[in-house]
Symmetry: C3
Subunit: 159 residues, 3 copies
C-alpha cells in the first residue's frame, strides 16, 4: 500500500515536504504540550474553570473556592493562545510554501528558525524571561511566516 500511495502522491517522498512534515509535527506537538502544562497548574494550584472539575474536593462551598483563576494557569493559557495565533499561520502558509518548490536548504532554514523561535517563546513565557526575550522570539517566528507567505504569493498569485 505504501508503494501505491507513494505513486499516487509522492508528497512524502519529496524532501522539502518531509522537512515540513517533521517541523510542523514538532511545533504542533509543542502546542499540544501546553494543554498538559495547563492541567498540571490547574491541579497543583487547585484552580478550575468548571464546577464538575472540583467535585472530587467535596460539595458546596468547600469545592466552590477552587473555581477561580490563578496567575500561573492564566500565563500558560496565554502562551497556548499565542501558539494558536502563530503556529496555525505557520502550518497553513508553510504547507503552501513547501508545495511551491523552494530549495531544501532555504526551506530548512525557515522551518528550523521558526521551531527554535517558538520553543524559545514558550520558555520565555513560562519561566518568565525579562522582556524583550519573549517579544523577540515571537517576532522571529512571525518574520519567518511572513517570508514564507511572500514566497507563496509570488509563486501562486491568482486572485
Amino acid at each position: 500500500r505504501r508503494g501505491k500511495m507513494a505513486k499516487s502522491t509522492q508528497l512524502i517522498d519529496n524532501e522539502v515536504f518531509r522537512a515540513y512534515a517533521t517541523y510542523t509535527a514538532i511545533v504542533l506537538l509543542k502546542m499540544m504540550l501546553m494543554s498538559l502544562i495547563t492541567a498540571y497548574f490547574r491541579i497543583t494550584r487547585k484552580a478550575f474553570a468548571n464546577p464538575e472539575d472540583t467535585a472530587s474536593f467535596g460539595k458546596g462551598e468547600s469545592a466552590k473556592k477552587f473555581l477561580r483563576t490563578d496567575p500561573d494557569v492564566e500565563r500558560v493559557r496565554r502562551g497556548h493562545l499565542n501558539d494558536l495565533e502563530n503556529i496555525v499561520p505557520f502550518a497553513g502558509i508553510g504547507l503552501l510554501y513547501a508545495l511551491s518548490g523552494p530549495e531544501l536548504s532555504t526551506a530548512l532554514l525557515h522551518f528550523r528558525i521558526f521551531a527554535g523561535a517558538r520553543i524559545l517563546h514558550t520558555f520565555a513565557y513560562l519561566i518568565p524571561l525579562p522582556q524583550p526575550g519573549r517579544g523577540l522570539s515571537w517576532a522571529v517566528g512571525y518574520a519567518v511566516t511572513l517570508s514564507m507567505a511572500y514566497r507563496v504569493l509570488t509563486a501562486a498569485w491568482l486572485l
Copy 2:
C-alpha cells in the same frame, strides 16, 4: 476538469485521503457549530461582549446591563477554545499522516476514534457530564493525535 485535476494530484482518489477529508470536514463543522451555540446562549441569556450588540435593547443603562458574562455562554466558549486546541493539531498532523501512506483500516480507526471522542467531549462539556467523562474524551482524542504524530515523524523525519 475533474479528470484533469485527478490526473495532476489524484489525492482525492486516494482512499486514505478521502477518509481524512471526510472526518476532518466533520470535526471542523462540529467546531463551527460551537459559534452557533454561543450565539444561541448569548441571545437567550442576553449576555453580550460588544456594546453594538445590545443596541436593539435600547440605549444607555437599559442596554448596558446586557454587557456581561454568563456561565452558560462561557462554558460554550471554553468548549470552542478546547476544540481549537485539539482539532487544529488533528487536522494538521492528520493531513501529514494521511500522506504518509498508512493502511486504510488503521487510518480509519484513528479518524473514527478521534471524531467520536471529540463529539463525546462536546456533549460532556455542554450537558455537563460528571468528570472524568470530559477528561477521558479529551485524552482519547489527544492520544489519537499523538499516535498519528509518531507515524508522521517515523515516516518523514528530516530535521
Copy 3:
C-alpha cells in the same frame, strides 16, 4: 529543483490550488495582522497582561497599574479569536475543497467572497460598525465554508 517538485506534485501548477494558496495566504496574513493591532493598543493604552511587559514603566506599584484590561485591547482580541474560529475551518476545508476538483470559477467565487467577508468583518469589529454589519459579514464567511464542506463531503465521503 522547481521542475522536480512540480513533476512530483504539480499541486502549485493547478489553477484552483494556486487560487486557494493566494486567498489562504491573504486571510492568514490578515489574521496575523491582529497580533500587531493588539500590540499597538496594548502599548498606546498602556494595558498589559504580563508583569514582565510593564518593567520598562518602573518597578512596584507604578508598573502594576498597567497590568489591566482595556476595552480597545479586548475588542481586538475578540476579533482575533473570531478569526481563528472562522479562518481555521476555511483553510482546512478549503484545502480539501481545492483538491476535490471544483471549477476554477466556482472556487474563485468561494474564495473571493470569504476573503471579502472576513476583511469586512475586521473593519466592522474594529471601527465598530453598528449591527448587523459584523453579524452579516461573519455569516457570509460561515456560509461559504459550509458550501465548500458540502462539496468536500459529496466528493470524498468515506466514513
